[in-house]
């Protein structure tokens, strides 16, 4: 397996808060659809923010592809696409203009950016919303646009932090069509955090479990389910909840 994302002994403590990450070791293979699960406050978003260079780690190393994200500023930004929990839209711009501008920022010519805009408006079913200002879009459409913006420059690695929050079921289904196509047909590596465990169950190939800033499991989704409950077939959600409920948690492998 070629390692696409590598975290080694990552620690992070916020100034006036608890230790968010306590020595995270994680590897994500190229072309995987990887999901990081954990309760609120476990450190998922912190790890994503470190990976996307929004915040700095306190110690440890990490790399994405062959890039050192803090040193290779421009190359890493072209290599990764990011859709974080909060929408990042210019409220005064239209959906269409925002997508086109994003393309231009990433080096596409005007024609290329406009073509890519059409592709994404189509893929995310935002054609009827194209001329609307972002501030007037519904919550679900804002979310779709936010995710579409992460894909304008055809990144090789996608960081998605709870991407489908606020989307209706149809939009979520469409979103996953796009993401699984990118992952399976184009080999894009996806790093996903989600509270919708059925999504992780359905789409993720690899997972890790994080709690209190440490990794408690790393491996396939199926292995996790079997480890928590070897006797019967359960959904990921059932396995996860069962593991969270257990007073004495089984020792899980951390790959």
């Amino acid at each position: 397996m070629t390692v696409e994302i590598l975290f080694k002994s990552i620690t992070k403590k916020y100034r006036k808060g608890p230790e968010a990450l306590r020595g995270i070791d994680l590897e994500v293979g190229k072309g995987e659809l990887f999901t990081l699960l954990g309760p609120n406050g476990a450190g998922k978003s912190t790890l994503v923010k470190i990976a996307t260079t929004i915040i700095r780690k306190d110690s440890g190393q990490f790399s994405i592809g062959e890039h050192n994200p803090h040193r290779d500023f421009s190359p890493i930004r072209r290599y990764i696409g990011v859709a974080l929990q909060d929408n990042e839209l210019d409220p005064a711009e239209t959906a269409e203009n925002l997508l086109t501008f994003q393309g231009r920022l990433f080096g596409l010519t005007r024609n290329q950016a406009q073509q890519r805009t059409e592709e994404l408006l189509d893929a995310f079913e935002l054609q009827t919303e194209r001329a609307k200002k972002c501030e007037t879009l519904s919550g679900g459409n804002k979310r779709r646009l936010h995710c579409a913006l992460a894909l304008v420059h055809r990144p090789r690695v996608l960081f998605l932090d709870e991407p489908t929050v606020g989307m209706d079921p149809e939009a979520r289904a469409r979103f996953w069509q796009v993401i699984t196509h990118l992952n399976k047909k184009e080999g894009v590596t996806v790093f996903l955090t989600t509270q919708y465990l059925e999504e992780a169950d359905k789409h993720a190939t690899q997972m890790a479990l994080i709690k209190d800033g440490t990794i408690h499991y790393g491996g396939t989704v199926e292995s996790f389910k079997k480890l928590v409950n070897a006797e019967k077939q359960t959904s990921l959600e059932e396995s996860y909840l069962a593991w969270m409920d257990l007073k004495s948690k089984p020792e899980l492998p951390v790959n």
Partner: protein, 252 residues
């Protein structure tokens, strides 16, 4: 078009499409100019005001307050992007971090200069004297440019370091009292309060006001103009360094 040009163009167009803050700043400055001149302009015949009247004396505070009340003081362009979360989207693009602060500063500074030009034109219609003609206009625009950079840079730097768009007002709130602890309404010769006189000497805003007065009514000396220019050159340079340096400490 390079990403730098794209981001600068965007900042300028954004401000042009949403000019509420700079227009409000301009309107307030114009309002106070008219009120001050109408209310206390009658004392302009006194010898301390020279022979150019009260309008030439009070006008510089209009220019200074214009920048504070407008986008330069608020760091409006950067402020809006941080508030909406779009700043993070820009941060995650290949745009250089330095350009993320320089572009909105440029937009805010141009806006401030634009409205300074308009208010100078209005002043000229009301008989505002320009001691050295076109050179006076150029000099006032230069002082205004340096003042706007000073405000923009510190506002932008503080916003970047704190990650809080609301912190832009720290700069204007800090400077606001200085406008009144100065020779804003009366020349030194007519200020009777010794403590105010003493504070005004130490207040850098005094020299900026006097520098403008040298160019308008010639009521100040060239030394004051040079001092004011030097002070603004230093503060604008410091502000730029602070703003650009803040791009390594961005908190989002």
């Amino acid at each position: 078009m390079s990403t730098n040009t794209l981001i600068i163009t965007r900042s300028i167009l954004k401000l042009a499409k949403q000019p509420t803050a700079p227009i409000m700043g301009f309107a307030m400055s114009l309002f106070f100019l008219l009120v001050y001149n109408a209310g206390i302009g009658g004392i302009g015949h006194l010898e301390a005001f020279g022979d150019k009247g009260y309008l030439a004396f009070i006008f510089p505070i209009t220019i200074i307050s214009l920048a504070m009340g407008s986008s330069a003081g608020a760091g409006q362009t950067l402020n809006a992007d941080m508030q909406s979360g779009y700043f993070r989207r820009l941060y995650l693009s290949p745009v250089s971090r330095r350009m993320l602060v320089i572009a909105p500063m440029l937009a805010d500074t141009f806006s401030s200069l634009f409205f300074t030009g308009i208010i100078l034109a209005i002043g000229a219609l009301f008989g505002l004297p320009f001691q050295f003609g076109v050179l006076s206009v150029a000099g006032i625009l230069l002082l205004s440019l340096l003042w706007a950079i000073t405000l923009c840079g510190f506002s932008a730097g503080i916003m970047l370091r704190t990650g809080q768009h609301q912190s832009a007002s720290i700069v204007t709130n800090a400077i606001f009292p200085l406008l009144f602890l100065s020779t804003t309404f009366l020349p030194r010769e007519l200020i009777t309060s010794q403590w105010l006189l003493a504070v005004s000497w130490a207040n850098p805003v005094t020299y900026v006001l006097e520098a403008n007065r040298y160019l308008l009514g010639g009521t100040a000396t060239q030394e004051f103009f040079l001092l004011g220019l030097t002070i603004l050159t230093l503060t604008s340079a410091g502000s730029l360094i602070f703003a650009v340096g803040s791009t390594d400490k961005i908190k989002i």
